[in-house]
Amino acid sequence: MHRHMAPGISRRHFFAAASATALPLFAAAPAPAAPVSIAHCPDYGAALAPTLKTMFDQLGGLGRLVAGKTVGIKINLTGSPRQRLGNTPAELAQYTHPAVVGSVVRLMGQAGARRIRILEGCFACDDPMEEFLLEVGWDPSPLLNAATSVDMENTNTLGKGRKYARFKTPNGGHIFPSIMMNHSYEEVDVLVSLAKLKEHATCGVTLSMKNMFGATPLTIYGDHAAKDDADEATARGGRGTIMHAGARQPAAIAEPERDPKSPRADKYRMPRIVADIAAARPIHLAIIDGISTMTGGEGPWNGGRLRAVNPGILIAGTNAVCTDAVGTAVMGFDPMADRGTPPFERCDSSLKLAEMHGVGTRDLSRIEVVGVPIKDAVFKFRV
């Protein structure tokens, strides 16, 4: 079993090692592999927490990963809190379900996590995350009380920090040599990406790695970001101008793209940026909520055939690429597929690009799947 960061290695040592290894473009050695757990879970009721606990045990136990540590959980709240797929509440389509968030927080607390911080760049705003959740119609109190010492931070801005954190991208990055993030991503010892099982308009799939795209601060990478230093008053709008379209460079506090003459097409850029983020700020635990979700895109704003569906699946793993590869397979796609083949008909594969960074393998033959076999978990997203 290979692990991206062995439990017990400190965050400081891990980042120092990651920076020092600056592999030539790109890694010649095989990318690491790690087990991935799959479980059936029909709904967000009583079976959820025991199912998650079993999955974490199958991966070696949460205690080994979080005991005595500060944990950051990046959840997925993409898009407007007031926009739904039909009448389907966001948590049953495009958002990570709060019951999953609450269960994970509770289990982390029981496993000895010292402090847990729930993180997200809340859509187009600098509102406190608690207020954002209220706008979705969720009460944040149960999440804040699911363990001792839980807080939340909207990472579109500096938030409670004094400065942004810089994460160097191994190999100089596909697009960005480094990525700036809210201080929380540097302060936490363990980073969890708690994602949704979905397709994506510009990345083919949005799983644990694409989830991290929302960690980029709007004050630096947002449509209204200042040209020079990060301006805290600019946390609004989306990330279309700088990230999707590459129409300008981020605020100068961040390093510019390594090649401003590279293609500007979003379906070229976005998978590469996702891979850069996954390599720059590694995910220690990837969890994918596929109990209730949607097909056809990442949110109700996507055109085409969108459906709310109930695959009844949870996926978790300690390597984000491996976990996303299994997630892609569970969706009925081939994780080894390249541009031109579903789900990457129009875009490059962020799985392949992250694998090139040495983050992890997408080769299912090298990934140990525990729990439910992939063949018994497949829920075809294209029918």
């Binding site: 407007s80 187009a124 207020e131 706008e135 308009a201 055109g303």
Partner: protein, 430 residues
């Protein structure tokens, strides 16, 4: 007949024949606003049909209304035509649309009507707007929405016909007659629900100002931008603030930069000490006694504690009313929003309650023009026993199924064109 029960119609200047009065037969219109130069035989024929033809109404802009005057109606002529300012996303070549959008701007009169009713001292409020530059660019639904919008806020909008429609009616054009009948049906439907106009606003926020002079722009824009984010508020003139205005409120936004009038200070002091939140600029904050620094930090406000409540003192004079409305909402907390809407980006929501508090009424107005409102969900944390949707296109209200989840309840609204009033019967009320 009092003008409070008038259903006024602006007689088109191009209509020169009294025969056209037949269009009004058996309809709800009971008042004609005749333009200068109307042939006298039209007035005579109208009066013969028992239609009121009041002397010239004193129309003025909101800024120029004589609030202390004794005109029988407060008539405001600088409203807007309700409309959606479209900001569409660009589509990519492969037809895939990516990226969520923000809420569009709406040209709406709700805030202005709330303010006018606050200041009108019980007199009826009428509103109109200059004729649109391109009347035919609007869909007919815009004219229906204009009528519904005014009625939802307890005001009146005299019926105005776009020139093409007026011309078509004069020629008995079938399509024009169909539109006319629809307009009359909507007016009749609104008239059948006129009692809603007396329902008080359901709001946890009072916005207090003199709404005039140097304070007019700031306070008006705060109302406008609060309404756009569906932050329910009660506008109150500061000289008239009474304890009853603060009953059930969570916050008071004192929008003026000058000191509070002496009559207001003890009311606000008591309100804050009992747990309320006061938001204000520096000068008025000086009147609040027994404050102490709060451990809370805010980039734009100095937060103070006072009794069980808080005072949020702006560090700078307010010059961005969007931010003022946003900060007010967040400092008060969305926890106190009575109603949340989903898939309602082009919809405003004006919330009222019955006098006994047992029913809530959410007036939903759809500014999307030709596009009906689809798949709108309404959520509340209040326990509700039943829910009904009233729409002009339905003679009878539609009973709504209540979807109950722990801590929240939702109703899914049927598609509606321009207006839907949702009545919620509460399970428990004082």
């Amino acid at each position: 007949m009092s003008l409070s029960s008038s259903i006024p119609f602006e007689w088109p200047a191009s209509w020169r024949s009294p025969d056209l009065l037949k269009l009004l037969d058996d309809g709800p219109i009971n008042t004609l606003l005749l333009p200068e130069g109307t042939p006298p035989e039209i007035r005579a024929a109208a009066e013969g049909r028992k239609l009121e033809c009041p002397a010239q109404i004193q129309w003025s802009s909101l800024k120029e209304v004589n609030w202390k005057g004794n005109a029988p109606v407060v008539a405001i002529n600088d409203g807007v035509w309700p409309d959606l300012s479209l900001k569409t996303q660009s589509n990519t070549a492969d037809g895939v649309q990516g990226g969520p959008t923000g809420a569009p701007w709406l040209d709406a009169n709700g805030w202005l009507l709330q303010l006018a009713r606050c200041r009108a001292g019980g007199r009826p409020v009428w509103i109109k707007a200059p004729p649109p530059e391109k009347p035919d660019a609007f869909s007919f639904s815009t004219y229906l929405l204009a009528a519904c919008e005014a009625a939802a806020y307890g005001a009146r909008r005299p019926i105005w016909l776009p020139p093409l429609l007026a011309e078509g009616l004069a020629k008995s054009n079938a399509a024009a007659l169909k539109d006319w009948r629809r307009l009359m049906e909507v007016q009749r439907w609104l008239e059948s629900h006129k009692s809603w106009a007396s329902w008080p606003v359901l709001a946890r926020l009072a916005i207090v100002s003199d709404f005039s002079g140097a304070n007019e722009y700031n306070s008006g824009e705060v109302l406008n931008l609060s309404a756009r984010r569906n932050l329910a508020f009660l506008p109150v003139e500061k000289a008239k603030l009474a304890a009853a205005d603060l009953a059930g409120k969570r916050a008071v936004l004192y929008a003026d930069g000058d000191a509070m009038p002496p009559s207001m200070v003890p009311l606000v002091q008591k309100f804050v000490e009992a747990g309320g939140l006061l938001l204000c600029m520096k000068a008025p904050a000086a009147a609040i006694r027994n404050t102490r620094p709060s451990h809370e930090q805010h980039p734009r406000y100095t937060l103070l504690e006072c009794g069980k409540g808080r005072v949020a003192v702006s560090k700078a004079d307010w010059d961005d009313q969007f931010v003022v409305a946003q900060d007010t909402h967040l400092l008060m907390s969305r926890r106190y929003d009575a109603i949340r809407l989903f898939n309602a980006g082009s919809i405003t929501c004006y919330q009222t309650r019955s006098a006994d508090g047992g029913r809530w009424l959410a007036h939903l107005l759809n500014y999307a023009g030709r596009m009906p409102a689809h798949q709108v969900s309404l959520q509340t944390w209040e326990s509700i026993r039943s829910a009904k949707a009233f729409m002009p296109e339905k003679a009878e209200p539609v009973a709504l199924e209540i979807h109950r989840e722990p801590g929240q309840q939702e109703v899914y609204l049927p598609s509606f064109s321009v207006y839907c009033a949702v009545e919620l019967e509460l399970t428990h009320h004082a």
